[in-house]
């Protein structure tokens, strides 16, 4: 089962969510593969403090070679990336679009694969959408992120129809929610009206501990297990697992 985390809007929490969900699946004894498709390599830097060895770089699929997963925790393997990936972003899109999917088809044996994408609708994001079963869209409670949502939901639909793939939107997660924002309540009402069941009930609160966690490469569920953010990630994980069982 493959899940892609996507939103063209920057900084909404895609990488942070992949980092936490991957560790929660692995804690639950699922065998997990995470893939970093963002040339910034933020997901890679959550797991590895040193440079990524070339044989573990997803960029290899653009050269018709097979990247090797690297074990970063119990039940958790990574195929990462770095800025070398950007030299393929402007290549002729068609030849690389299918590359991610066809390589993934050779990596049997994982219960869950989670793909992190860059903040764009470019080649790697579209390749990841075509190769996945489900998409999760993180959004923050801001006018910019909400404005882009309708376009994003539509373009996932269009991609699915034009390539006859099975990608489905599993849901939208509100991240970085600040309690004191009256604006958040109003926005929630608008979202609920527009997206209803697609919206996960669990929202992830804004918490300085989350920022500290990603910078230390330790999930907040371990750094501050009784805090509100850790509780929210565990709650969201349960909601995701139950949705996966019912779709």
């Amino acid at each position: 089962m493959r899940i892609v985390m996507t939103n063209q809007k920057g900084g909404v929490g895609k990488t942070t969510l992949v980092f936490h969900l991957a560790t929660l699946f692995a804690n639950d004894r699922k065998s997990v593969l995470v893939i970093d498709l963002d040339p910034q390599g933020n997901l890679t830097s959550c797991f590895l403090r040193s440079d990524l060895p070339p044989q573990n770089n997803i960029a290899l699929v653009c050269e018709d070679k097979r990247p090797e997963p690297i074990t970063v925790a119990d039940h958790l393997d990574l195929v990462g990336t770095d800025s070398s990936l950007s030299r393929y972003e402007n290549h002729d899109p068609m030849d690389h679009l299918e590359a991610i999917g066809s390589w993934l088809d050779t990596t049997a044996g994982y219960d869950v694969t989670i793909l992190d994408t860059p903040p764009s609708m470019g080649l790697f994001t579209r390749g990841a959408l075509l190769a996945s079963d489900f998409a999760i869209i993180p959004a923050d409670v801001s006018w910019f992120a909400l404005k882009g949502l309708a376009d994003l939901v539509k373009s996932i639909e269009i991609l699915r129809a034009s390539h006859q793939t099975s990608i489905r939107l599993l849901g939208i997660v509100l991240n970085n929610v600040q309690e004191r924002q009256s604006f958040a309540q109003e926005t929630w009402a608008v979202l609920d009206d527009q997206y209803g069941y697609l919206l996960f009930k669990t929202t992830i609160p804004e918490s300085v501990r989350v920022r500290e966690a990603t910078s230390q490469g330790i999930p907040v569920t371990r750094l501050n297990p009784r805090g509100k953010a850790a509780e929210a990630y565990r709650q969201l994980y349960k909601e995701i697992v139950s949705r996966l069982q019912t779709v």
Copy 2:
């Protein structure tokens, strides 16, 4: 004089900074042109609540046509964009890279032109860097944004050397700074050590009023003029103007 706001890291505050600096230059009776090069069209949506008319879209430069600026406030014109721009992102980069600069050369008469870019190092960001005199890099106080800074500073240098253009880094602005983050003090010390004079002294505090401002299309300097965020933007504007006079 042309300034480009850039950072491949998403969500660090590029668009919000362009929106506020453009209004501060215009209030100071400078004639200002702002250009939106992000297919999300976030800057455009700060100024226009309705759809952008096709003749005001920067995408026209990729068809060898001339977009028309639209006046959105006193002394402030916009050439905006929307998702139609993304069809050019994967075109053969070389023919569009120069298009932005050569069109800008025909739009004489503005004191200041400010370009907003998408969170990537793709075609439009590189075209904007080649066409500008100065770059300003907003960063938030996070491991991800700081990790990418060195790469970004380096790639601006490389672009300048390989295309013999005059682009120079005017400075780095820390945005979304939360007082209670002890992490911020530590990070500031590391940044000061690494970037020294490149770092603007003024930092922009995290403030819910800023989020509300962009969603209403009213700068925080008007929405909440005596608040800490408005004060910081005015302070930063003074620092930018004085740097422009001394470089």
